[in-house]
């Protein structure tokens, strides 16, 4: 296994161009089934509103998965990710329409570490909100 990105070719501060990921209600239903997280706040508007939420919200893990996908698409090999953590700082509200919500992910190489590893900082936004904070990953480069 090996990342396609070479350690010698990245610089501290290097930006990873942003990408958009769409999330619709159907994605949340699929994610509930695949992950086993059937909390109704992720698919039942009536329930979500009854517990004080504005509408159905995406699973935090769905958002983390999109930022993870951004990371592994950059690294080239998902097996190159050695550490990945996030804080869920804001909810991704997913309306019941054809557009759903958009999660925009971008990244920056924050630090070059030993053993050809890099610390990548990730930013994920939906609408005006930053939906992940302290989102960081350590990736083993080639």
């Amino acid at each position: 296994m090996a990342a396609t990105v070479r350690y010698d070719e990245v610089e501290q501060g290097q930006e990873i161009p942003a990408a958009d990921y769409q999330v619709r209600r159907a994605n949340l239903v699929m994610y509930a089934g695949a992950s086993g997280d059937f909390n109704p706040i992720h698919w039942n508007e009536r329930f979500a509103k009854a517990v004080g939420l504005p509408d159905v919200i995406a699973h935090g893990m769905y958002t983390m998965a999109q930022a993870g996908r951004f990371l592994t698409d950059w690294a080239g090999d998902p097996g190159a990710v050695v550490d990945y953590g996030v804080r869920f700082s804001s909810m991704v509200v997913v309306p019941d329409d054809d557009e759903g919500a958009t999660i925009t992910v971008s990244g920056v190489v924050e630090e070059k570490l030993d053993d050809k590893r890099v610390l990548v900082g990730l930013t994920a936004r939906s609408g005006d909100s930053r939906v992940l904070s302290r989102a960081r990953a350590v990736v083993q480069l080639s």
């Binding site: 992950s35 086993g36 919200i57 990945y84 953590g85």
Partner: protein, 148 residues
């Protein structure tokens, strides 16, 4: 309702082995919309140096939620209707691949109040049935309004 602080340090019994299948990895990859061939195509995964298809980085949530056995204990006092996810971290010792049989041991490492919310952190040590370390997960969930 405030969570029972006596649960800090409490560990679950080892989970029953979770068998990682190609079908489940493919389903999970489809659900997150990730078309990477190393999640679906054994030959592509092997060409990348893996023994079989590997799992996406967030896949361990599928089986490490089994820390749920502690979270579901009525003595803890957690109201699931008010729960949202606060933080999540994975430390990977090696990629998870199809064919792995994984055991998780979950430990409550912290319970604290932040504003009106209660936060509980569960660490799960994931190994193969033979004891090889695979990953360590840290899951913090928030009970909204729990501390009010």
């Amino acid at each position: 309702m405030a969570l029972n602080r006596d649960f800090v340090g409490r560990a679950s019994a080892p989970s029953p082995p979770y068998e990682v299948s190609r079908v489940k990895i493919k389903e999970f990859a489809a659900a997150i919309g990730d078309n990477n061939p190393v999640y679906r195509d054994r030959e592509a995964a092997q060409a990348a140096g893996h023994p079989d298809v590997i799992a996406p980085p967030t896949f361990p949530i599928v089986f490490s939620l089994s820390g749920g056995s502690i979270l579901a204990d009525p003595e803890l006092g957690l109201n699931f209707a008010m729960v949202v996810h606060g933080e999540q971290r994975f430390e990977y010792h090696r990629p998870i691949h199809a064919g792995d049989e994984l055991v998780s041991v979950s430990t409550v490492t912290d319970i604290r109040s932040v504003g009106r919310n209660e936060l509980i952190t569960v660490k799960s040590d994931v190994t193969t049935v033979d004891g090889e370390p695979v990953c360590t997960t840290y899951n913090t969930i928030v009970e909204r309004g729990g501390a009010s």
